[in-house]
């Protein structure tokens, strides 16, 4: 599958005089794991909010799953999943309550929810904790649960906003195994992260610098392009370029 699932063309977003996203053009292919990197304040979050249909672009356009984000945001929302840094589960609800709530707002039927929910809990080996409050679960479990819930409605594309923030390396590795499994099932993954080891796991990455896309390609291509050995050095090179 090499269809384009996200197509951004000359996308800009201004807040007053501040240009958060400055004329970016890129595409994400169906089925790939796309890493969206950049320093805090580089415009990642704004770009992601535009692509999720939460924020209208000031100029330019973008389509997600074939729908225009500015005019067809309702269709966009139905076809994407989203998981934030804070896992966005309700701590005071049980595991099952969370599952049925999120599946429910994605318009899944009762039978579908029961079916998908149980399959998911089996896979995560969380079946016996079905009625536990989410707040009492260890962080790693919460994170896996949050991701499984984010894709319970089988979206074509899932946005992950720093999904591994504050999680230990082994749990992070296990989490990435889940991402790969989802990608194999055909779900495109759009992920922002500050962990550069994770950047290396992505099929392709883009690095935003001051609202623009500073670099875009496979991790290998980028290292070759900047003649360095790691993504860390790519980012350093980009930062130096910005200062010069």
């Amino acid at each position: 599958m090499s269809d384009v699932i996200i197509q951004a063309s000359n996308l800009s977003r201004r807040f007053g005089n501040f240009v958060a996203v400055d004329n970016i053009t890129f595409e994400v292919r169906s089925g790939e794991i796309f890493g969206f990197l950049g320093a805090n304040g580089a415009g990642k979050t704004t770009a992601m909010r535009i692509l999720c249909g939460l924020l209208a672009p000031s100029s330019g356009s973008a389509t997600v799953c074939g729908y225009d984000v500015a005019t067809q945001s309702e269709q966009v929302k139905l076809n994407i999943g989203y998981m934030s840094q804070r896992f966005s589960l309700f701590d005071d609800l049980s595991v099952w309550d969370n599952i049925s709530f999120y599946a429910g707002i994605y318009k899944m039927s009762r039978a579908q929810i029961k079916d998908a929910g149980n399959t998911m809990l089996d896979k995560l080996e969380l079946s016996k904790y079905k009625n536990r409050l989410v707040g009492s679960l260890p962080l790693g479990w919460k994170q896996k649960l949050a991701f499984a819930i984010a894709i319970i409605h089988k979206p074509q594309l899932v946005f992950l906003d720093e999904p591994t923030g504050g999680v230990d390396p082994i749990t992070r590795r296990a989490f990435w195994d889940m991402l790969y499994a989802a990608a194999i099932e055909g779900i495109t993954i759009f992920v922002t992260t500050h962990y550069l080891d994770e950047a290396e796991y992505c099929d392709r990455i883009s690095i935003m610098v001051n609202g623009k896309i500073g670099a875009l390609g496979t991790p290998l291509e980028l290292k070759e392009q900047f003649k360095v050995l790691s993504i860390y050095d790519v980012i350093l090179a980009l930062a130096r370029g910005e200062e010069a």
Partner: protein, 366 residues
């Protein structure tokens, strides 16, 4: 000691770097002192008093002039008792003084004179104070105008229309309802919405196919239900335990409470669009809504006694209008026309708060 000073310094920095909290800390006590200082007054000023002068003679006219002098009463002359009673029911006057035809003659003859004073006793405190003022004015008048003869014993025979036992609970129940509903509707909704914001779940909800309006209604509806339930409980208690009368229509009462709940929910929602954290939402609700609702709704302290600028502020308190409607319905059984205006004000307020918060909500996330 050194640790302590470092700690104090750190705390101090927190405060200084957070101007909003500083403002709250400085302003809150200030506002409280001002409010309590200005509101806690029991003397009466500029009370609306209807006078039905059937005598229309020298002495009765003098008495009316005496009542008009000074700033205690604002006299409204009416032609007949029914006309005056209508004003009383609508709350436009607090008391009626009826001067019978033979007032002048009896006063001079030094025989029993006939004056009738009718008081609106929905606010028992005000009623007794007005009574005392009228008595005092009459006594002065006697000494100055009738003269010669000794001051007669003045027996003002009172007939309390709405609150014959002068129970203050009659006056407090409407206020209590307004405060409790404000607490639940506004405080709870604002906190629960900000909690979603804090935990990041609101963003997930917004990215989901749910429409913003659905999220809002989904959040507010449960609180509306709880509030109506609570209204029912308070009413049941006030009827059953305190014996508060239900003079008017219960259906009307429920409908008006519904409107007030909507208004409070809209306020809570408005707060949540502004507040970033639950604590801020709580502070805003408590300081911005609860305290003024308690003090400025006319529940405890008569609005009439407040300085003019503070009276102006009471106009923007939904509770002021709500309490007034409740008194009309529960105690006076006034006709709908008597409180239609208040209801319209409440509806307009609800509309404005809803529009404002929707605007905030959508511009924030869109």
């Amino acid at each position: 000691m050194k640790n302590l000073s470092i700690f104090v310094r750190k705390e101090f920095l927190h405060i200084v770097r957070d101007p909003k909290s500083l403002m709250i800390m400085v302003l809150l006590p200030l506002v409280e002192i001002m409010l309590i200082g200005f509101v806690l007054r029991f003397e009466i000023a500029n009370t609306n008093l209807a006078v039905v002068d059937m005598a229309k003679q020298q002495q009765s006219t003098k008495l009316i002039h005496r009542l008009e002098g000074g700033d205690r009463f604002k006299v409204r002359l009416t032609q007949s008792m029914p006309e005056a009673e209508e004003l009383l029911t609508e709350g436009k006057v607090k008391a009626i003084l009826y001067i019978s035809e033979d007032f002048d003659r009896k006063a001079v003859e030094n025989s029993e004179s006939s004056l009738q004073l009718l008081l609106d006793a929905t606010d028992p405190n005000i009623a007794t104070t007005i009574e005392a003022y009228v008595k005092a004015t009459l006594a002065d008048f006697w000494v100055d105008s009738i003269g010669g003869s000794p001051v007669p014993m003045l027996i003002t025979e009172q007939m309390f229309y709405y609150n014959p036992l002068l129970k203050s609970v009659y006056a407090t129940v409407p206020g209590l309802i307004s405060v409790v509903l404000m607490l639940i509707c506004a405080l709870m909704t604002s906190i629960s919405l900000t909690r979603e914001k804090e935990s990041g779940t609101l963003k997930v909800l917004l990215i989901s196919p749910l429409k913003p309006l659905q999220i809002i209604i989904g959040k507010l509806a449960p609180y509306l239900l709880v509030s109506l339930l609570i209204t029912g409980i308070i009413l049941a208690l006030s009827f059953g335990v305190f014996g508060v009368p239900m003079a008017g229509s219960l259906i009307m009462l429920i409908m008006v409470s519904f409107v007030y709940c909507l208004c409070a929910l809209a306020l809570g929602f408005l707060i949540s669009t502004k507040a970033k954290t639950q604590q801020v939402a709580m502070m805003m609700s408590l300081a911005g809504l609860m305290l003024p609702t308690t003090l400025l709704s006319g529940m405890i302290y008569p609005i009439k006694n407040m300085p003019l600028w503070l009276q102006g502020i009471t106009y923007i308190m939904p509770a002021r209008w709500f309490v007034s409607i409740l008194k009309h319905i529960m105690l006076k059984a006034s006709p709908f026309s008597a409180y239609a205006g208040e209801l319209v004000v409440l509806l307009i307020m609800t509309g404005i708060f809803t529009l404002l918060s929707l605007k905030n909500f959508t511009t924030r996330f869109r």
